[in-house]
């Protein structure tokens, strides 16, 4: 995946809570067998409403989505992450993320940034006041910075390192192939196989 260190871009406020992955990418888009072309499906039902925030031309080209709490609930579809990335987002900021969505994001290099609800609202208000506002998301320093404001965020060291190096998880795990084989030899004998 693409490494992530520091990203500066414009942001778009999505003032909705509980944005589920069915909204991020409706099921009809999941029939594809490739990993590309999902940007057209991003929020496709909501984008039919001319007043939806992503249809506002002042936010065109924004790369940081600033959403309400409990972003990415529901289905495990990683297509939601692909759709956000392919549309141009590198970061999603929210007060809370659903576990599977957050996990999927870090596997793909889309950075989920957790900030307190009040800070998220302050950032949304700042962007609404000035859509050209430049927002910097600094994974190395674990900070979001805009217009003289600085908000610190937490992320575990291991995930941060993996994102900053852009490392393939499978490659890392296969370094432990011996440990996996040793474990396998000690598994309980009654455990089922599918054959």
């Amino acid at each position: 995946m693409e490494a992530f260190t520091v990203h500066t871009g414009r942001a778009v406020p999505l003032r909705r809570s509980n944005v589920d992955t069915d909204q991020i990418i409706p099921a009809v888009w999941l029939k594809q067998v490739s990993r590309t072309g999902f940007e057209k499906g991003l929020f496709s039902a909501w984008r039919e409403d001319p007043d939806f925030v992503l249809n506002n031309p002042v936010y065109e080209g924004a790369s940081i989505l600033v959403a309400g709490p409990d972003f990415g609930t529901g289905s495990s579809r990683e297509h939601a992450v692909w759709a956000l990335q392919q549309y141009g987002f590198r970061v999603v900021v929210a007060a809370r993320f659903a576990d599977i969505f957050r996990n999927n994001s870090t596997k793909m290099g889309l950075l989920p940034v957790v900030l307190p609800a009040a800070t998220v609202e302050a950032l949304q208000a700042a962007v609404e006041a000035d859509p050209t506002l430049e927002v910097t998301v600094d994974l190395a320093e674990r900070q979001v910075r805009w217009a003289g404001e600085t908000a610190a965020f937490e992320i575990d060291d291991y995930t941060r390192w993996r994102l900053m190096e852009g490392l393939d998880d499978i490659g890392l795990t296969l370094r432990n192939a011996d440990a996996i084989a040793t474990y396998e030899n000690g598994r309980q004998p009654w455990l089922p196989t599918t054959v």
């Binding site: 069915d22 490739s34 495990s76 297509h79 659903a98 599977i100 440990a179 196989t193 599918t194």
Partner: protein, 459 residues
């Protein structure tokens, strides 16, 4: 200090632990289906990696399949199913395709075959994998990158979630089901209440649930934000498992049962969070909004947004749902009833719906979709199909169907359903469709009256 069920199962599966890193967790069973696997197989091919343990992997076709006999007419859906077939053949994975007696919804077939057993780790590229935790294992949904990771390594790097006990005291009153219980739990703790936790459902009311009811409860853990929900194995679990095709036999069965009994949470174990619910106070529960936490007792009215925890979300939900605050939920008119899904598509669910529909007529479009071909066969052996057909309901083939509308079973814009599935998200059952989540009993009674109804309301 004692350990919880979740801690015991987790520790048993740690392949490698290192300071400052997630645990490397061994995965005992990997279930796959057509929707979230094609890109994972592509990844393996590009890297030249084989599947490490095809013998711990099983595939089925469920999300896209039509529930009327015949081929898949939608070309894109058909391509996805054919891609799964090619991938399974190339990589040596056992597949239960459409038409196979073992085909069905991925979370129905694992337990049905006896592949889902206590103490196991089970994953699938589907968030309702939490269903399998009903047997006392750790089971959770993963994304496609993790599907590829499990195919390649049979492991996952993961941090152990915190532990939450949901203690359900008392007994569920007559006519109140496992579905009502889990909907009430989600309404209580919210869609984010379980984030970062593995939930263990405990207490008298949980112990008295059948395995099928336990699966309904664990299935919807994810709707409360918890990736996994689990219930300690007991005699109900062993009774369900014994004699199933992949269950151990003879001495291995005895050894397994002894181990499974040791998994229960120790008396002195401490959970990170405890939530308490009194089952005896519950009544049939339905959702009124666009997330599974927006629910209320059937006997209540559509709430005013300002009475809820999240007024702006509630106002938006009522607008989408075409509902007015103060309207009694029993007055809400429904066009379509769906009985099925990994939440409520098992034999017990179909029996419950048939019990209500026996000798009555439906006034809505009513789809009865068994969760698997085996469930269908068993239901037909009991004559349930005849009850449904006599009532005017449609008796279909197995699949995910209207739970998520990837196949032709969908709601039209503005159409309203009472559905035994798990998600009432905007457009979940078809663009513009409006979903009320209910139990199979309420679904069947609603089909009879055309309004949200409990069986007890029927004359």
């Amino acid at each position: 200090m004692g350990r919880t069920l979740a801690e015991k199962v987790w520790e048993q599966h740690v392949v490698r632990r290192a300071e400052g890193e997630p645990d490397l967790l061994y995965i005992d069973l990997h279930l796959i289906h057509e929707v979230t696997s094609p890109q994972a197989f592509d990844g393996l091919r590009m890297a030249g990696r084989p599947i490490r343990r095809p013998d711990l992997t099983i595939a089925t076709e469920d999300h896209n399949v039509p529930t009327v006999r015949g081929p898949i007419n939608d070309l894109v859906s058909r391509t996805q199913v054919e891609t799964l077939r090619k991938n399974c053949a190339e990589f040596g994975v056992r597949l239960h395709p459409m038409g196979d007696a073992g085909q069905g919804v991925v979370h129905i077939i694992g337990p049905q075959f006896g592949l889902t057993q206590p103490g196991m780790t089970i994953v699938c590229g589907d968030s309702h994998t939490s269903t399998h935790g009903a047997f006392g294992g750790i089971a959770f949904g993963i994304g496609t990158s993790e599907v590829e990771h499990v195919l390649a390594t049979q492991t996952l790097p993961a941090y152990r979630p915190k532990t939450m006990a949901i203690e359900v005291s008392g007994e569920l009153p007559a006519g109140v089901t496992a579905k009502d219980l889990i909907l009430a739990i989600i309404a209580k703790i919210g869609t984010g209440g379980g984030q970062g936790y593995i939930v263990e459902y405990r207490g008298e009311a949980v112990r008295k649930l059948s395995m099928e009811g336990r699966m309904t409860v664990c299935n919807m853990s994810i709707e409360a934000g918890a990736r996994a929900g689990m219930i300690a194995p007991d005699e109900t679990t062993f009774e369900y498992l014994k004699g199933r095709p992949h269950a151990p036999t003879g001495d291995a069965w005895d050894a397994a049962v002894e181990y499974w009994k040791s998994l229960a949470t120790d008396e002195d174990a401490v959970f990170d969070t405890v939530v308490e619910i009194d089952a005896s106070t519950l009544t049939p529960f339905v959702t009124w909004g666009t997330n599974p936490g927006q629910g209320a007792p059937l006997g209540s009215a559509v709430p005013a947004p300002e009475e809820t925890d999240d007024p702006s979300a509630a106002a938006r939900a009522l607008e989408y749902m075409g509902l007015t605050a103060g309207t009694p939920l029993r007055e809400v008119k429904v066009d379509t009833v769906f009985v099925g899904s990994c939440t409520n598509g098992r034999l017990e669910d179909l029996r419950a719906a048939a019990e209500v529909l026996r000798g009555r007529q439906v006034v809505t479009r009513t789809l009865i979709v068994p969760g698997s071909m085996l469930v269908k066969l068993q239901a037909e052996q009991e004559g349930l199909d005849e009850v449904f057909k006599a009532a005017g309901a449609e008796w279909r083939e197995a699949g995910c169907s209207m739970c998520l509308g990837m196949n032709p079973d969908t709601l039209a814009p503005g159409e309203r359903s009472a559905s035994t599935s798990n998600r009432n998200f905007e457009g979940r059952q078809g663009k513009g469709g409006r979903t009320h989540l209910v139990s199979p009993q309420v679904a069947a009674a609603t089909a009879v009256t055309g309004k949200l109804t409990a069986p007890a309301d029927l004359a």
